[in-house]
Amino acid sequence: MKKSMFRTIIAASILAATSSFALAQDKVNLTMWHNHPEWKDRVQAILDRFEEKHPNIAIQLEEISGTNYSARLNTALAAGEAPDLFGLNPGPTTAEAAAAGYNVDLTDRLDISGLTDSAKAAVTIDGRVYSAPILGSYTVGLYYHRKIFAEHGLTPPSNQTEFMALCDTLRDKGITPMIAPAQDGIIPSFLYAMMVSSVVGSDGFDAIRAGTRKFTDPDVVKAAYFLKDSFSCFQEGALATPYVEGKALFALGQGAMLEGGSADFAGFLETNPNVDVGVVPFPAVDGGTPATVTGMEAPYNINSKSEHIDEAITFLQWMMSEEPAQMVVDTITLTTTKGIVPSDNRVMKEMIEAGRSNDVRVFYELPETGAVFGVVQQNAAGLFLGDLSPEEFSEIVQAAVKPSGN
């Protein structure tokens, strides 16, 4: 009796071991690189939900800080050692990767009909689809601390004059008007984009792309003047303040305002769960319309060298469905899936509202202005320090445009 029981236990153990081995063998592991370590827990929660629904696919998420992401990814792509799934900015960057054969052509393999029109446009290059905006999009506007504003009876500014006057008022009260982590020039580049948009609007922006309007047009140069003037509102040491430090300073209430994106809100909450902020479009150059800028959160591509392309497509397709899109908008940033609204996220709702007035796409996503963002990034400090006049700055920016009309 004892002997047969022992045999049964052994047999059962062997069976269990082999079946779990077989299961483990069937399970596909996909590697995924992402460039927002501050969202790790939130992204992981979505991936966990995916794995619950698809037990045969596991996603190994690796977070890489934004500053190092492109260097590491470009090197890995060139060396053929990139992950199965990687995020790339849409437009020229994705087009370049497609030309190099780094990503899988997903046209007709991925259903993008559930995406918003702007998201569809962003991931479509010459009629082909190479990526999916699974972690949504961002809109950039002006965050402000509601408590500071309420305590001092202030209202968010809507134009340059109001903004500069507000800076003076706040400074007089011993409050840093605006936090601007300008070390790498990315924040000034977004500021300039919104200031230009406030002058030209989305039609004028199209005209700049077409070559019929220029950054050197006298009315557009006013945006460069506003950018230069706004420097006086920044915190001390702004040109040496890294992005993460700036966001943390604002979240902790060390400054009244911050130019920031919908995607930054999750980071504020990580730093200060009690943060109480509001969002409005960025103040306009006098006479213009307050503006916001929208871009895609690096849409995901599938590595053409991946051994699990079908599973990767399954993942991307699921990520664009209702449930994960709802998780994205509720916990991270705006969604690109049609019909999904934040369930209980006032700040995201305000951001959506802010984007209704005068919203344009970010420079670097478009072929004609793809290089403009980087040029502004590298020359804004010259403008702030007086090394460049607004006119010279505008000339340099215009030189980076590749008008589609030419």
Partner: protein, 327 residues
């Protein structure tokens, strides 16, 4: 053949000549070049990790390869011509030069002074030496990060401490102010590298014969004269080594500057050095698209810098060695 080697041969049972014959190698050749076999592993390693990649990099620099994809065209020496007329390269090189001269002066004055004090074997000498050398063994990234936090105008403690000491007039946005950014980078680099100067000079001071110092003192030389006329000339090899190492170290600096002032050498390239310029050209200053990103051009600049540094370092060694002999 010596008796001992003859004994070794007889005990092993196979002579070297026999071994050579068995593989068809003339014994004369073994005798003449046999020692090179010992160098071979190291040489192969050097060729594979240094010379090979450098040659490959040179080939890449003759193309217009951006670093993404496989498409490229041969542009031959265009990248080198462009590099030589590229103002940012000279701007960065000037910053490296300022860094080199400043660090050199610091090490040959403060570093030497501390080394002389330590050589007098004060109490707790081992402790002082460990403390002074510690920055050298801390990772440069950590060093940069710690200093960034300390110097921050918003969360740093250097400005508040200065204010508390009644030195508020000295406070500054250290890394953001164009007037103080590069000097601050120099100060952090000096703090980080002074340990090398101390170690090299202390070892040099310990090699100065005691008799020479005693002879000078008997001849009536005071402390300064003994140092100036007797001890310092004996430190020439240390001076040479430190100068050349400082030159190489400051011209290839990257990590510390990158962490302190970011990829564009804030503010407005005031702290941009060759390392950050080449990195930015190869990989970009952010994840966004940039026309300025070109791996082949970055490599061409790196090779130009490499050649320049090789020539200067070689001339430095020749000049300083000659000076050593004279002194």
């Amino acid at each position: 053949m010596t008796p001992s080697s003859r004994t070794r041969e007889s005990t092993s049972g196979v002579s070297r000549r026999d071994a050579a014959k068995s593989v068809g190698v003339p014994s004369g050749m073994i005798k003449e070049y046999g020692h090179l076999l010992f160098v071979l592993p190291g040489l192969l390693f050097f060729l594979s990790v240094m010379v090979g990649p450098t040659m490959f990099a040179f080939v890449v620099s003759l193309t217009d390869w951006t670093g993404r994809g496989n498409a490229f065209e041969w542009v031959w020496f265009d990248n080198f011509v462009k590099a030589l007329s590229h103002w940012p390269l000279y701007r960065a090189a000037i910053n490296n030069l300022i860094l080199f001269i400043s660090i050199l002066i610091f090490q040959h004055t403060i570093g030497l002074f501390i080394a002389v004090q330590l050589n007098e074997k004060p109490r707790f000498m081992e402790f002082y030496r460990a403390v002074l050398f510690m920055p050298v063994i801390i990772s440069l990234v950590s060093t940069g990060f710690i200093w960034t936090l300390m110097l921050s105008s918003n969360i740093g403690f250097i400005n508040p401490v200065l204010r508390d000491l009644g030195l508020g007039f000295l406070t500054s946005a250290w890394l953001s102010n164009p007037a103080t950014a590069l000097p601050t980078v120099i100060a952090v680099t000096a703090w980080n590298s002074v340990g090398w100067a101390i170690i090299i000079y202390v070892s040099g001071l310990q090699n100065v014969p005691e008799e020479l110092k005693q002879a000078a003192q008997i001849d009536g030389a005071n402390g300064w004269q003994t140092f100036r006329r007797v001890i310092f000339p004996q430190l020439s090899p240390s001076f040479t080594a430190l100068t050349v190492l400082t030159f190489i170290g400051t011209f290839k600096t990257f990590d510390l500057v990158y962490v302190l002032t970011g990829p564009i050498g804030s503010p407005n390239f005031r702290t941009d050095v060759l390392g950050t310029l080449i990195y930015r050209t190869a990989f970009g200053a952010s994840g966004n698209y940039s026309d300025e990103v070109s791996m082949s051009f970055a490599i061409a600049m790196a090779l130009v810098v490499f050649l320049f540094m090789t020539v200067i370092a070689w001339l430095m060694i020749i000049f300083l060695r000659r000076r050593e002999i004279q002194s």
